[in-house]
């Protein structure tokens, strides 16, 4: 049986063939043109399951008060010059210049749910400014901003020294403070399990293979009898991930042998643990952990709480050992304690790791969430809108308010850090 094209050619001839192809191409081009014309008149909405508030926030008088600082930290403010709190333009379509295309944000899947909330609510305040958000991993965010294909790169870690040297114009701007937990899928436990960095390193390098290993029982004396004799399935990220960076930094800080053999980074050369699997994105880790019995995974806090988070799915959350030797649960108070104990040390470039910090009740895996932005935007309108967006996101009565941060489990930037952030945002120009 001759093919369709051969039969067509026989019946209609060569000219008919060319005519048919031309007609087909014209139809496709017309359809595409119609689609683009139609879509440009419809405002694009990128929010999925997160709720959109339809009422705008009341403009509260902007008085920034320090968050509660623990008494062990000296109360003298550091010698950094204070930066005036930014004022936002009045809400409405006429306050900010309209842009030819939406502001694009992509990268970290840990900060992605928060950016989704911010994008939707920023647009209700300035309806002519669209913000597109995407996940894809911190590595994709870093690469995108370096290449100039996206405007804001969401990244859990700040750029490495090599990257910062190669791209000196990229600012690492903290917009909030997040945390990461270790979830596991082990039925029949009555209390959360304690883990040290060494034990987690042992699980991920294959030296600790069973859930009832002596090392795990040693730190979980009360629940030792409930630990099953099953193989541990360690899950790690397949994509270039800031969460991997946070987790491996914790492992490197706690275990010198991990630092020597594996190190920390967005991707590392994982050990050959039989049965280990790679998942894509925080959502992939969550799904993989839920579907695989006796698995263990490192997941960001924005996937811990909420109606489809790890807690709701019945996964356990580990109590991790901090620098003071205590096993700490991942609560807002403990995250805040970790921040309060060390944020004073943040340099003006704001490239600082909060992981494994001091404090008796500090949760060990806490970090600044960075918006990576190029200092030179090339377009005055884009620079203005971008500065407004980032100021809006980091103001304590707008983006950094408990209304948004509580939905993802983050804590706000302390006042002096917010001022450093605002100073960096002011550097974004043409």
């Amino acid at each position: 049986m001759a093919s369709f094209s051969e039969r067509y050619k026989k019946r209609h001839g060569m000219g008919g063939m060319v005519l048919g192809v031309v007609v087909l191409v014209v139809i496709i081009v017309a359809a595409l043109a119609g689609y683009f014309a139609a879509s440009s008149t419809i405002t694009a909405s990128t929010s999925t399951t997160t709720s959109i508030i339809t009422t705008t926030l009341p403009p509260v008088t902007v008085t920034v008060t320090n968050t509660a600082v623990s008494t062990s930290v000296s109360t003298t403010v550091s010698t950094q010059t204070t930066f005036a709190t930014p004022t936002l333009p009045p809400k409405g379509s006429s306050s900010l210049p309209t842009l030819a295309s939406p502001i694009s944000e992509a990268g970290s899947s840990l900060v992605f749910p928060l950016f989704q909330l911010w994008a939707a609510n920023f647009t209700t305040m300035y309806p002519n400014i669209q913000v597109n958000t995407a996940a894809g991993g911190s590595g994709a965010g870093q690469t995108g901003v370096e290449a100039g294909t996206i405007t804001i790169g969401g990244s859990d870690p700040f750029l490495t020294n090599a990257q910062q040297a190669a791209y000196p114009n990229i600012l690492d701007i903290p917009v909030a403070i997040s945390a990461q937990q270790v979830n596991y899928n082990v039925p029949g436990l009555s209390h959360p399990l304690n883990f040290t960095g060494n034990i987690l390193g042992g699980i991920y390098n294959g030296t600790i293979t069973y859930w009832d290993a002596a090392a795990i029982k040693a730190v979980n004396a009360g629940d030792a009898s409930q630990l099953p004799h099953q193989l541990i399935v360690p899950l790690h990220r397949s994509d270039s991930s800031g969460d991997t960076n946070l987790f491996t930094t914790y492992l490197s800080d706690t275990s010198p042998s991990w630092a020597k053999n594996f190190g920390a980074g967005n991707t590392i050369s994982w050990a050959n643990v039989p049965g280990a699997a790679a998942e894509s994105g925080n959502s992939g880790m969550l799904t993989g952990c839920q579907q695989t019995q006796y698995s263990i995974a490192y997941i960001g806090i924005s996937y811990e709480i909420g109606s489809s988070g790890a807690v709701a799915l019945g996964l356990g959350t580990a109590m991790l050992q901090n620098l003071a030797g205590k096993f700490i649960a991942e609560t807002q108070a403990n995250i805040q304690a970790s921040v309060n104990a060390q944020y004073i040390n943040t340099p003006p470039s704001e490239r600082y790791s909060l992981i494994y910090g001091p404090g008796a009740t500090s949760y060990p895996i806490v970090n600044y969430e960075y918006a990576l932005v190029n200092m030179h935007q090339g377009n005055a309108n884009l620079a203005l809108d971008l500065r407004t967006l980032l100021d809006w996101a980091t103001l304590p009565n707008y983006g950094n308010s408990p209304f948004f941060l509580n939905q993802v489990g983050f804590v706000p930037l302390p006042s002096s850090i917010a001022q450093l952030t605002w100073a960096q945002i002011a550097e974004i120009t043409v």
Partner: protein
Amino acid sequence: MTALLGGSAFLFLFMIIGVLLIFAYPSIYVNGFKFLVSGTWNTPTSASVVLVDGFKELQGASYGIWVFFVGTLLTSAMAIVIGVPISLGVAVLLSQFAPKRVASPISFCVELLAGIPSVIYGLWAFLVLFPILVHTIEPALNRYLYFIPGFGGRVYGTPSGVLASGLILSLMIVPIVASISRDAMAQTPLELTEGGRALGMTKWEVTRKIVLPYAKTGIIGSVILGLGRALGETMAVAIVCGGAGYLPTTIYGAINSMAAFMALNFSDAGSDVSGMTTSALAELALVLLAVTMLVNVVARLMVRRGFFSSAEHLVQV
């Protein structure tokens, strides 16, 4: 006009190869033969940039694709082993045994299957195949077939791995192999088959002794075409492979393939400011291109006998 269009296809192919060669040159020069035989792919993005053999590289980086190469071959071989008997069965059924009114809709459906985008197969595998694998198939294989090397050992909780990749790839090559083989078998001259029936052979004997030997070249060509598709398959394998950095010891362990690895790790290339990872990925792309092109050229040479042209529209990547 046709010469112009034909020439542009040639030009496009050489452009792709040329661009890849330019990007891959640093990696080819620095890594050499070790690229193909080393099993370690390590991009330490936090390290500093050093000069190696005159090219910039991250300190401590190593690029070796042995795991991905073996993974590609292993999953494709598994796809052939599982898929070809099924495809041949379907082809024999459709060309020899099924009545016309049954054979037409079935062959139409088989040809439709070839057109489904591969990522949909991946999604189906993730939603439907994984639970079946974990709860039913893998425990059964482990219990009853443990004596076959690779089937024994432990069954892990995660279904992604060699078995899942092999199954999904076999599902994807069945339409191609079945359609082309069916066309090849249908081309058997009527006088040969009728002569066989006249001599008193049963239908199955006619199929086995007359049709299959006559269509042998076409069938082998179709298998090689299916192999070509399986080698280059990206998205479905990326979803089900498990993203391993090491070769598994059993068929239940995680695996990786060249195409899937490239799809999942291209963002790594951007994080490497020295540019060596981009170069290594381009070299990996060249290796994959060479393998699939070789397989496709061999297939086309074998199937040239005429019944290939009618099923040309089925071949896609």
